[in-house]
Symmetry: C2
Subunit: 230 residues, 2 copies
Amino acid sequence: MKPAIILLSGGVDSTTSMAIAKAEGFEIYALSFDYGQKHGVELESARRIAAKYEVKKHLIIRFDMREIGGSALTSDMEVPKERLDNAAEINIIPVTYVPARNTIFLSFALAWAETINSEDIFIGVNAVDYSGYPDCRPEYIKAYEDMANLATKASVEGRAMFHIRTPLINLTKSEIIKKGTELGVDYSLTWSCYDPVQKNGQYVPCLRCDSCLLRARGFEEAGIKDSLVT
Amino acid sequence: MKPAIILLSGGVDSTTSMAIAKAEGFEIYALSFDYGQKHGVELESARRIAAKYEVKKHLIIRFDMREIGGSALTSDMEVPKERLDNAAEINIIPVTYVPARNTIFLSFALAWAETINSEDIFIGVNAVDYSGYPDCRPEYIKAYEDMANLATKASVEGRAMFHIRTPLINLTKSEIIKKGTELGVDYSLTWSCYDPVQKNGQYVPCLRCDSCLLRARGFEEAGIKDSLVT
């Protein structure tokens, strides 16, 4: 089995992307980040999903993006309770954007890929039902891949050609959920909410942030019940 | 004054690169990394240098590259006590190479640059008197810059065009030291050794690793005394 690195946030997209990698026959090395995100509870989902998928290894890298700030997910800024549907078209990028986040995540993935002799890095980015983040677009991913293949010892020595795999990039959220459901994904294990609220000592999704609204619409359009919220 | 991010390891090259940025009139935001390197003592140098240069801010980001490994600088592997002079030509990259290190460092720099509205990131890479690391070469830097300008909200919104500034890339080590000396750099504050040894309760350079040998030859060829080791 060939090894693959899967960026696993614990959300719908990254979990589906892991299921796709597994179905393609890869041995899974799951990579998550504890970066000071308000919704750190997503890491509990990531841990449960990694355990359920019996991944070869689940690595959680810790650093503090709050020291850099610039995002509603890592600072005092409030997480907006709305979804701007045509945000991407009109070039409005929400304040939940985290500066260079995917670039940082992919860079740790690249380091790990090189170390375990993997050429495949799966990232669940999506450029259809998404929040308009620049680091989810195909042109960005292509540029990252080009850079990655000049960056490492393995590529310079001709031992590796890295591929940034984005199996979801052209799917709608409902298509992603249908695909995952076909592959047996248990979405009740996943977490999407950017701004969790405490209820009876447990975190529950706010159901009003961009990420909750995207998730709800995806399930609705897919005609599938979201067992996390019901 | 325009702000610039300076990757500051505390070594000869990054310190010279900071002095050049300062001479160009930039306001300095110094960025260092505590990544589990054996020569963590370099961070003490970085702190002293940042203080001496009265930087606007010195940020030290912490994460653990030992979990990823793959390098003599972050694992049990021994740091070689020699210098392979034609390593780059014959495509031998030493075991002190750290997987994707500059890619990770530049990615945090990019995040910080975006947050403080800076377009300039200085990195003291050098492709002449160097250890053959792939992520020090001009073609890598160019690819990183191309990627960076697709990665961020600031670039997509047309507010920023990022420049990865490499003022030392074509200089020999002795030219770097001469240049820094002209700019008043106090190299006794810097640290180069990959494999520090304890002596009378203090860390001293081993004087035999690749980095020590490069430094020694640079000072010798520049005809300047290295006050750190004498």
